[in-house]
């Protein structure tokens, strides 16, 4: 399959089941909601070493938030419910409770309930106040700038992590420009996050390493400087490869995000140095969810 001169590989991205949650952070203005959201989703690019994958889903209009203030919706993904709950609570406590004027609300009403502000209330040292409004429990925790308002719980749902595609280009600036275009479009899709810095990862990995202590190492088949040294997957003209990883609530969400992302890359086309789109997989042995590039773009 070729779109605008860009070859779409007959391969698939391999993804695996995760647990996910969503939270809504509001503040006096969008600037401070975003600062808090960035802090909460910081150091959360990969479960390999961060404990979770997190990202900003989108900016919310005041009419969309529970308290009518500007807000930001964030999502956190982890391999299990216990790890997710721990990450959520730690991050909420250190990054949102601490952030001036912030308030924190559930972003998923159904699912398994996990603690959002339920345990942060103890920071109130007995001065915290509970309010049950329309079946939802809120905690009002006195803090130095006034009161920190937080919903007690949010929902945890089954989700999918590790959807991805690779952008193969003739130069590094061209690969990055294509990924930036893709991320801009993908951020318009709900229920997904792209957890890596700016949504793009340049250090894709393979399973295993020559070093016994490491479970993963650089994806040498896609490293352009190794074209003459390893069993490469790159043709001579490819000078740079970048990857976009997608975590989403459902397969359909990831399908949609991959479609608009790949389309944005292909819109730049071969004339802008984009040669191929490929994807990362482990031969289908690791993850039960397979995203076939050509099916998605059909």
């Amino acid at each position: 399959m070729i779109i605008n001169g860009v070859a779409i590989d007959a391969t698939f991205a391999e993804a695996f089941p995760m647990k996910a949650t969503r939270a809504i952070i509001t503040a006096q203005n969008e600037k401070w909601a975003m600062i808090s959201a960035q802090a909460m989703t910081g150091f959360a690019t990969s479960v390999i070493a961060c404990g979770c994958e997190a990202g900003i889903e989108r900016v919310l209009d005041p009419s969309e938030t529970p308290d009518g203030r500007p807000g930001v919706s964030i999502m956190i993904f982890a391999m299990g419910g216990k790890g997710l709950a721990k990450q959520l609570e730690t991050r909420a406590g250190q990054c949102v409770l601490t952030s001036p004027t912030s308030a924190l609300f559930a972003g998923i009403d159904g699912g398994t309930r996990i603690a959002l502000g339920k345990n942060l209330r103890y920071f109130g040292d007995g001065f915290q106040v509970s309010k049950l409004i329309d079946g939802k429990r809120y905690w009002r925790i006195p803090v130095m700038d006034g009161e920190f308002l937080t919903e007690a719980t949010t929902g945890q749902v089954d989700a999918i992590g590790g959807g991805n595609f690779l952008v193969l280009a003739e130069s590094q600036p061209q690969a990055l420009a294509a990924c930036e275009a893709a991320i801009e479009e993908m951020r318009k899709i709900p229920n997904v996050i792209m957890p890596f810095p700016g949504g793009v990862v340049r250090s894709g990995s393979k399973v295993g390493s020559k070093y016994a202590a490491l479970g993963a190492s650089t994806n040498d088949a896609f490293c352009p400087t190794l074209k003459g040294m390893t069993k490469t997957d790159l043709s001579l003209e490819i000078e740079s490869v970048m990857e976009i990883v997608i975590d989403g609530l459902t397969k359909e969400d990831i399908d949609k995000a991959m479609r608009v992302g790949i389309q944005a890359v292909c819109d730049l086309g071969a004339s802008n140095g984009i040669k191929r789109i490929s994807a990362g997989n482990y031969g289908g042995k690791l993850g039960p969810f397979h995203f076939h590039l050509q099916e998605i773009m059909a």
Binding site: D67, G68, A103, G126, K131, I133, G146, E147, L149
Partner: protein, 271 residues
């Protein structure tokens, strides 16, 4: 299906215990069976059809017409369904109500919504003393749900209240929110003496400045983030509380009762 309607034939001298006539108890009964139910009337028992004309079939939607202030225990422990009272209701309206809805077009007596657990109760007239309170000797009053009173309420509204909302469009009598453990009482009108007497926790939300009390300490003026959410939850009500103009988030906060544990609050609207 038309509402199951009980029309009072004549006003009795003695009080009537209406607790058998709730939706869940009448659900599978034929009209003849309902007519044969006996109600306590003073010291004697009377059949339902002795005092009511009965019409309709939908036991999930009960209407009591020509009601007056001696019909006690209407909607006692109601569990789903709806009871509409046309006229006044006696004491213990919605006692221990578990879910569902009750609406009264007129006034209600003592202990309305006493120990209510869930559901919605609307009183279009005035309510007597001990609205949403605990029965004498009990320690836990209303535990959930919403009470809306469009008129005034008597003394001790929300006594021992533990959870839920009491919304009063009119005035509240003395000892409003006494011995409250938690929950919210909102009063648009005036409040009487001894507001929040011995309250432990909970919120008294007022539109007008109450009488000064040495038992409450001023915590200053604040903009509280939970108030817009609380007001948003009132939007579904047919009430002044649902008006956009009623909502505010800037309040003077008083903490008390300091002679008790002092974790309660009186929030007074700052105009």
């Amino acid at each position: 299906m038309s509402a199951l309607t009980f029309t009072l034939k004549q006003r009795l001298d003695q009080r009537v215990d209406m607790s058998p006539l709730v939706c869940q108890k009448l659900a599978d009964l034929e009209l003849a069976e309902i007519a044969a139910i006996t109600l306590q009337n003073g010291k004697r028992k009377i059949r339902v059809d002795e005092i009511f004309s009965i019409a309709g079939t939908d036991a999930q939607n009960i209407v009591i017409k020509n009601s007056f202030g001696k019909l006690d225990f209407i909607g006692k422990e109601l569990e789903g369904g709806r009871i509409t009272v046309e006229g006044d209701a006696g004491a213990y309206l919605g006692l221990g109500m578990k879910s569902g809805a009750i609406e009264v077009s007129g006034d209600v007596g003592l202990y309305a919504a006493c120990e209510m657990k869930k559901g919605e109760l609307v009183i279009n007239g005035n309510a007597g003393d001990f609205l949403g309170a605990a029965l004498p000797g009990n320690k836990m009053g209303m535990k959930g749900g919403t009470i809306l009173v469009k008129g005034n309420v008597g003394e001790r509204a929300g006594d021992h209240m533990r959870r839920g909302n009491i919304l009063i469009e009119g005035n509240a009598g003395d000892y409003c929110g006494s011995r409250m453990t938690a929950g919210t009482i909102a009063v648009m009108g005036q409040t009487g003496r001894y507001l929040g007497f011995a309250m432990r926790r909970g919120t008294l939300l007022l539109w007008n400045q109450p009488q000064a009390s040495a038992r409450f300490n001023d915590c200053g003026a604040h903009t509280l983030a939970f108030l817009p959410i609380l007001f948003a939850s009132f939007k579904k009500l047919d009430s002044k509380f649902a008006d956009n103009s009623a909502a505010f988030n800037r309040v003077q906060r008083y903490a008390g009762d300091m002679s008790e544990m002092g974790r309660g609050e009186v929030l007074v609207k700052i105009s």
